[in-house]
Symmetry: C2
Subunit: 147 residues, 2 copies
């Protein structure tokens, strides 16, 4: 049995998103995987830190670079529960991320709505893994917010 | 005599860029101005922090939000010595920046090369203020690097 599957990593990202949910943050979680090992975990903390840049992806990139002592994350793959925004896509470009796997799409704020590819040419992308779970968490958050 | 002119603020950003230069960082500096007062100063620290997200603009936004206790910087204007990249444009979108003034253009990595406007619709932009000084500093840095 292979433990460290993409599903395993995305589920770890989803756990981070659930922590965000519990703390009243928009529930987006991320983990950075390097050579089949999780080297960073993060969730959206824009409210807690009063900082629009504190997206899960930015925090995961910063934390992964700190862990590896390297600016470039060419051998790392980011698992994130929501399609990255333009800011996070730009950050992943600079980090030269090896790969991005995202669960739910974000037609309104995702980087994919841009005509140009904002990612680094070396960054491989996959989407849709555990999309239902990620989306349900986001929907539950916004339903709660509107009450 | 008006002390707090756009030239004054851009010169403060340029001082930050010079500090970056002295520390071996790509010399980009920024200040955040709110109601005619500098509330944050920052320079590029990607090398020192081993973090691709540590651009002057990101650090200035984070610092300004910390100073004001507010995520949104609608009454703030960012003075930065180089045209922001996609990541920083995306961050300024989330912060709903009132304005961005940049000195030198960045045809290769600036946000302006994208067909879409990546900035918030409320963000006013001016460019070219003290461009020569900002560009000279960058050119001097890359000349030194190539030696």
């Amino acid at each position: 049995m292979e433990l460290y599957t993409p599903e395993y990593f995305m589920n770890e990202a989803l756990k981070q998103a659930k922590t965000a949910f519990e703390e009243g943050e928009i529930p987006v979680g991320a983990v950075m995987v390097c050579r089949n090992r999780v080297i960073a975990r993060a969730y959206n903390q824009t409210e807690k830190l009063t900082d629009v840049t504190a997206h899960a992806e930015i925090l995961a990139i910063t934390s992964a670079s700190d862990s590896l002592g390297a600016k470039y994350l060419t051998e790392c793959e980011l698992y994130v529960t929501l399609e990255p925004c333009v800011m996070c896509a730009g950050a992943s470009f600079w980090a030269q991320l090896g790969g991005i796997h995202f669960a739910a799409s974000d037609p309104k704020r995702g980087y994919g709505r841009m005509n140009e590819n904002l990612l680094h040419p070396k960054t491989k992308v996959s989407r849709g893994l555990m999309e239902t779970e990620a989306k349900e968490l986001l929907d539950a958050f916004f339903r709660k917010l509107r009450k």
